[in-house]
């Protein structure tokens, strides 16, 4: 596979990721505003988000219960995963090109990324 073909594949992956994430966030936003659009909101004092919005497992639980905030959070998670998937796919494509140096470089980036995500 040429670098050019690789660029097109990675570009498509990024596009798919942002469109999917955008649609899920939009769906959550519409659900939320339909019910609470008139509520008064303020963000001048920081209170950490409630626990159900702070981890992957509990966000998924909220989605199954049909909560609008959980849908938005799921879309944001999809957005966060998009560049990570991009790095993972690059590693795979460099390996198929039999480019040892860049397969190694990409795997190194992927492991640093996964390490910092889990800390």
């Amino acid at each position: 596979m040429s670098d050019r073909a690789m660029e097109i594949l990675l570009g498509n992956l990024l596009r798919l990721g942002v469109i999917l994430a955008g649609l899920v966030v939009l769906l959550g936003g519409i659900l939320e505003l339909r019910h609470h659009g008139g509520d008064i909101v303020h963000y001048s004092v920081f209170q950490a988000e409630p626990w159900p919005l702070r981890s992957v497992g509990s966000v998924w639980q909220g989605v199954l219960e049909g909560r609008p905030y959980a849908f938005i959070q799921l879309g944001l998670l999809l957005l966060i995963f998009t560049p990570i998937l991009r790095v993972a796919l690059s590693a795979l494509l460099f390996a198929r090109q039999r480019d040892g140096v860049f397969t190694l470089v990409t795997l190194l980036v992927l492991s640093i990324l996964l390490y910092s995500l889990s800390h």
């Binding site: 990024l14 004092v45 640093i112």
Partner: protein
């Protein structure tokens, strides 16, 4: 303010932030943080959470076009990401060890100086560096070409290790301060590695999403990411960045440079101000 009004206003502001972010390679955070904090009186924690999401949205949205069209240099981006991700880890570790305020203030002054220098050299594109590429760049197959109105144009790659070192600094600053890594990335590729301006900004744009994603786990688990606030920001920035990616193709590099100068000067002032005030 009602949630509907806030959503609509934030959406419009974020459109602009995404547009500028995609055109400069800096991500949307530079405009978004002051807009949220000063314009909407949003607490800095929520603003940083929304800004982080906006960086990933600008990066992936615009990069989907830049990578397909052949502006971003994949090999350069991937190679330099080693330094930015490691630097980000180091930066997060240095929180509490290095005085953040001083780092912010010094970074701000450096940015103001770079803005001045970039302004002086804004027509540099017309006389490219004639030296041959760095041998390391040749071995790593980094030389490439990018689209111009006159067809694809080949370019050389200089000082790979210098660029790599500065990328480490960029990553460290983003881990420590949570903002501003795009500016150093563009400067490293543009000024140290001598890449064409559009290649520098689009490759930076391609990279900032990965640096930001590395910190996303921490932001999420600390509860900085508010769904109602981030929803219009993410959607607005995404649309803005996709529009920006279309404009970049047509835009003259000198004009893009001028926009970049204005935005990093703004970021420099922000950093000096936050550093002096102690609000990072």
């Amino acid at each position: 303010m009602s949630e509907f009004e806030l959503t609509s206003l934030l959406f419009l502001g974020s459109l602009l932030a995404g547009l500028v972010g995609a055109l400069t390679g800096l991500g949307g955070g530079v405009l978004l943080v002051p807009l949220l904090v000063l314009g909407f009186k949003v607490d800095l924690h929520y603003a940083l959470g929304a800004s982080l999401i906006s960086v990933i949205a600008t990066s992936s949205g615009a990069a989907s076009a830049y990578v397909r069209e052949g502006y971003s240099n994949l090999r350069i981006g991937m190679f330099l990401e080693i330094a930015t991700t490691l630097g980000a880890l180091l930066g997060a570790y240095l929180v509490g060890i290095l005085p953040k305020n001083w780092v912010a203030a010094i970074f701000g002054v450096v940015l103001l100086y770079s803005a001045y220098q970039s302004f002086q050299d804004r027509h540099k594109e017309s006389r490219p560096n004639p030296r041959p590429s760095d041998p390391l760049a040749v071995r790593l197959k980094m030389e490439s070409s990018y689209p111009t109105p006159q067809g694809p144009k080949a370019y050389k790659v200089h000082n790979v290790l210098g660029g790599l070192g500065l990328m480490g600094v960029a990553g460290m600053l983003s881990g420590l301060l949570g903002i501003g890594s795009g500016a150093v990335k563009v400067l490293a590729m543009d000024r140290v590695m001598g890449l064409p301006y559009k290649v520098s900004t689009t490759t930076s744009n391609f990279m900032i999403g990965v640096t930001a994603a590395a910190s996303a786990g921490i932001y999420l688990s600390r509860g900085y990411i508010d769904p109602a606030l981030t929803m219009p920001v993410m959607l607005g920035v995404l649309l803005g960045s996709l529009t920006g990616a279309r404009i970049l193709t047509q835009a003259a590099p000198a004009r893009l440079r001028l926009l970049f100068v204005a935005v990093i000067a703004l970021l420099g002032i922000q950093m000096v101000y936050q550093g002096l005030r102690g609000g990072v």
